[in-house]
């Protein structure tokens, strides 16, 4: 075994590219473990876990780069170091825009502001500890902010949102995954038609699904504003949500408004409700997992994303839309179901997106099926060991626990492949339910990566003479850079059922589980 640890002082790189590089190098032959990352507390902890910490790494600062390789022999370690060196030299800062003025390297937001060339949007995905400082600079320089980073304190978030209000600027985030501003995708977003529906959402994948379904129903979007995962908490009080609603309410191009959120704090929900009721435009409210017994006035309440999309498009067009779900085909479903063994009774939902995971759980709960999760709707439903699925299990692989020191599974979906294979092979698994996100921000070939796991699991299941039902919900549109049809075809070719509606996929899974249960009971009955 050969272990090498290096510290490169004052050589900063962004964490996503370093995590990706670590992953790539870890896949090389003879390489046991790799860490390429800035010397943050977390990375030093991970380094200690690898047994690669040194006095030098203990003294390193977050601006110093750590490189650690554990390999079977010296040759493998050298190859790994060389690959890291090559990967590091690839990137070059500067203007990403084609044909723009050459050599200038910008290090700070104020340098860009000083150009006075109308730069009006800061897209921030630096480590959360440093994010507030950068956002403050952007807001003070008159820029709107899309803040992808999480790990920003409540106090910092409040300060930023107060500053944004004072400056009349939009502060999207922290923990904001998705926005479409003037049709431009910020973060993780799909390419959808322009139209007259404006959205304010405290949910990333939820917003993606909503815009995609509106698109599939023939509607279009003016603005889709992400407010950040914590905006509707009691502490933040929905500050960005309220600012976004005010702006959408004043926007002439927006004729219908949708408010989307994971369960908000009750007092914030009622504030948002009151404000929404006062808007002189039709408003659709979709608060996943929250029952409202308040007076809704003229507001429309939607129980899931598909209902929300349908209501918005109906209010926009004046007629009830139908969902075009081009690859949805149940024809093989009954036969697959019939081939399940009596032991196969449960669903295993392995998700990249938190909100679509939530929505699937709400669906199961509504039909009375018990569920467990690492992001439970209620504490009683918490999974004891997040690595071990029990009964109907829904795992959000994008949860902090799984993304410590690793990229989000939407960026690198291979991170959930091992779990998918393991869960598919469990003797009590009847249905595998997964999501696939296309669009800007996501992996260039998420279906291709997923299918690797599906094929491997299917081959091993075939060896045991059995099968499972594979269901995929695909969030994607014709305009997405990955190519919608080729991606769906990869899933179909692997034998998966494909829907562009997450709730439809979840309902199908619930039907499968119910049917599998009934089949098993019938079989038991025969035995007795």
């Amino acid at each position: 075994m050969q272990s090498v640890t290096l510290v490169k002082p004052n050589q900063y790189s962004d964490s996503v590219s370093l995590m990706r590089l670590s992953n790539d190098v870890a896949a090389l032959e003879g390489v046991e473990d790799v860490l390429v990352g800035m010397a943050t507390d977390l990375n030093r902890e991970l380094l200690a876990g690898m047994g690669a910490a040194t006095a030098e790494t203990d003294a390193a600062t977050p601006n110093d780069l750590l490189i650690a390789v554990v390999a079977t022999d010296k040759d493998a370690a050298d190859r790994a170091l060389e690959a890291i060196e090559q990967g590091m030299s690839k990137k070059k800062p500067g203007r990403a825009e084609a044909g723009a003025a050459g050599e200038t390297v910008f290090e700070r937001i104020d340098q860009v502001a000083e150009l006075d060339e109308g730069f009006n949007m800061a897209v921030v995905s630096v480590p959360g500890t440093y994010a507030a400082h950068e956002c403050q600079a952007a807001l003070r320089d008159g820029m709107h902010v899309f803040l992808f980073s999480d790990n920003v304190s409540v106090e910092e978030e409040l300060n930023l949102k107060a500053l944004a209000r004072e400056k009349g600027l939009l502060m999207m985030g922290p923990d904001c995954g998705t926005a479409l501003i003037n049709g431009i995708a910020l973060g993780f977003a799909n390419v959808v038609r322009q139209g007259d529906i404006g959205i304010a959402a405290a949910s990333g994948t939820g917003l993606q699904q909503l815009t995609q379904l509106i698109n599939a129903m023939g509607g279009g979007i003016t603005q889709a504003i992400g407010v950040g995962g914590r905006d509707l908490s009691a502490a933040i009080g929905g500050r960005t949500m309220l600012a976004a609603l005010e702006a959408l309410s004043d926007d002439e191009a927006t004729r219908v408004i949708v408010v989307l959120s994971k369960p908000p704090a009750p007092e914030v929900a009622s504030t948002v409700l009151e404000v929404a009721k006062g808007i002189g435009k039709p408003v659709v409210l979709c608060l996943l997992g929250r029952e409202l017994d308040a007076d809704l006035g003229a507001l429309e309440l939607a129980g899931n994303l598909e209902e929300a999309a349908a209501a918005a498009v109906r209010l926009s067009s004046g007629s009830t839309p139908s969902l075009i779900d081009p690859f949805y085909d149940e024809s093989t479903f009954p036969a697959t179901l019939a081939s399940l063994r009596p032991t196969q009774r449960f669903v295993r939902g392995i998700f990249c997106g938190g909100t679509v995971c939530d929505e699937a759980m709400v669906c199961f709960r509504s039909v009375g099926l018990p569920i467990r999760s690492n992001i439970p709707l209620s504490e009683a439903e918490r999974l004891e060991d997040v690595h071990q699925s029990v009964g109907n299990t829904f795992i959000d692989m994008g949860d902090d626990y799984f993304t410590r020191g690793k990229p989000h599974p939407m960026i690198d979906p291979s991170l959930r492949n091992r779990r998918i294979v393991a869960d598919a092979l469990q003797s009590d698994t009847a249905v595998m339910l997964v999501d696939v996100e296309l669009g800007y921000g996501s992996h260039p070939d998420p279906a291709g990566v997923l299918v690797e796991a599906v094929d491997e699991a299917n081959a091993r299941l075939a060896g045991e003479g059995r099968t499972v039902v594979w269901i995929a919900s695909v969030i994607g549109t014709e305009g997405d850079p990955q190519g919608f049809e080729p991606q769906c075809n990869k899933l179909l070719d692997a034998g998966m059922l494909v829907s562009i509606s997450n709730i439809r996929a979840a309902r199908l899974a619930a039907r499968a589980v119910t049917a599998a249960g009934a089949q098993a009971e019938a079989a038991e009955g025969r035995q007795q």
Binding site: T61, A98, F119, S125, Y130, A138, E246
Partner: protein
């Protein structure tokens, strides 16, 4: 208004994951991807301090500091005896460069200069006796800066030394400095031999009265105007004072000729000034001091009012924190050594002369003094780069001094502690290097920065005092 964003062209600056920038560019959005690294060296506490003071009222306080610095009009108005002239001076006081320091912690050249000072004052007859006296506690050591004065290198001022008197005619404050002895074996590098003492006596008995008489005939000499010209003649008035010294001679000579001075002395005085390219350093320093002192005490201001070193510690003061010192270890100067010397001969950074940088001169004005790079090392491009970088840590620009090669842009002025720590860009100082042996003299010249600690500690103290103030 947020609504104004709707329909406007989006132009983005991206920091963090480059993927987001690539995706924006793919959508045809004009995007600048920053070459980003954590601000304030990734020190969260420091970053929070910076953020707490990133406010309009602090900006306004700094603008007031800049306004006062720009409005100052220091004139050389006379020469006096330290004991009679400097505030807080006593027969037992010896002033030194840099922040406060005890005899025990003083470096070799500073000790040498104090020995020389005690011999010059006639307090003892031998160096050994002087050391004993210095260590006895009888002598009060105090920073020049705490007596409105500055001194190059060791910066030693004893009670009977003559000092230049400067007055800010737009504010009334005064500043003081000794007269420059020239190069070689001199007190400021810690030499205390008979030739050094002899020169000091001549300066006290001949040079000072002559200059004093000449100045008495003048209406004072406008030092800011003189420095402005010198900057356009290739000086940065810290390590290069050749033009400024020449200009000073032009100013003072008519009065020296008119004054009632014996001819032999007049000739000796003119030869002495004319033979010392650095004569003006002891005027550019108090001029800087007089300009900056008017910013001292402005509430909430994060502008640095002095940077100085005593050969052991580096110290700074900040406008909003009055007379508090923030210190760290004086660093090694990197540069060119005179033939025959090695790195082992170098004393750590020393002297009050970095007051010039604090005022936007010296290292901040290197682009005005391209020739200086032959002395301190580097290339002409470096000189321009150093000056350009200093604009990123300063509050604004000088209205009096300008740099021709930068399009006559005003010198970078008013070092902002917030910017220094947030950007991790330390002020650039160019300076002489003293031998660590007392009395050897200058062994080279080069470039140095203040230690990070000074600015780190000052930033935290500023946030401690002003961090909870109301209003952004």
């Amino acid at each position: 208004m947020i609504r104004e964003l709707f329909g406007a062209e989006i132009k983005a600056v991206n920091l963090g994951s480059k993927d987001f920038a690539d995706d924006l560019a793919l959508q045809g959005v004009a995007t600048i991807n920053l070459s980003w690294k954590p601000a304030a060296r990734g020190d969260k506490q420091l970053l929070e301090a910076v953020d707490a003071l990133t406010r309009d009222d602090v900006d306004a306080a700094n603008q007031e500091a800049l306004r006062r610095i720009n409005a100052a009009q220091p004139y050389l108005i006379g020469v006096g005896r330290a004991l009679d002239t400097l505030p807080g001076m006593s027969q037992d006081t010896i002033l030194h460069a840099g922040p406060p320091i005890t005899w025990e912690r003083m470096c070799g050249p500073l000790r040498g200069a104090i020995i020389g000072g005690l011999l010059f004052e006639g307090r003892t007859h031998t160096a050994e006796e002087a050391e004993t006296l210095a260590a006895s506690g009888t002598i009060e050591f105090s920073p020049c800066h705490e007596h409105d004065a500055v001194g190059p290198m060791a910066g030693v001022i004893t009670p009977s030394m003559p000092v230049f008197i400067l007055e800010n005619r737009n504010g009334g404050n005064r500043s003081y400095a000794t007269m420059n002895e020239g190069l070689g074996k001199v007190l400021r590098f810690g030499a205390y031999g008979e030739e050094v003492l002899e020169r000091l006596r001549w300066m006290r008995d001949v040079l000072a009265p002559a200059v004093s008489k000449a100045l008495a005939l003048s209406d004072g000499i406008d030092l800011k105007a003189l420095i402005a010209q010198a900057l356009h003649m290739g000086d940065e008035v810290h390590n290069r004072n050749r033009a400024a010294t020449s200009l000073f001679i032009r100013e003072i000579l008519p009065y020296l000729l008119q004054a009632d001075i014996p001819d032999a002395e007049r000739i000796a005085v003119v030869e002495f000034i004319n033979s010392n390219d650095h004569f003006f350093l002891n005027l550019s320093m108090p001029c800087s001091k007089a300009m900056l002192d008017v910013a001292g005490g402005i509430e909430k201001s994060t502008v640095v009012t002095c940077m100085c070193r005593n050969g052991t510690d580096f110290g700074i003061r900040v406008a909003g924190l009055g007379n508090r010192w923030f210190t760290g270890p004086a660093e090694e100067v990197k540069g060119l050594l005179f033939p025959g010397f090695t790195d082992a001969d170098k004393n750590p950074d020393m002297g009050d002369s970095s007051i010039t940088e604090t005022a936007g001169l010296g290292g901040f004005a290197m682009a005005a003094s391209i020739a200086i790079v032959q002395f301190v090392g580097g290339t002409p491009a470096d000189a321009i780069r150093y000056s350009e970088k200093m604009y990123t840590i300063t509050t604004g620009e000088s209205q009096s001094f300008s740099i021709p090669v930068l399009g006559f842009r005003g010198n970078p002025t008013g070092i902002d502690v917030r910017k220094v720590v947030a950007q991790d860009t330390l002020p650039q100082i160019n300076t002489g290097i003293a031998s660590r042996e007392a009395g050897v003299g200058q062994v080279g010249a080069g470039l140095v920065n203040p230690p990070w600690e000074c600015f780190h500690d000052a930033m935290l103290a500023l946030a401690d005092v002003y961090g909870n103030a109301q209003g952004r």
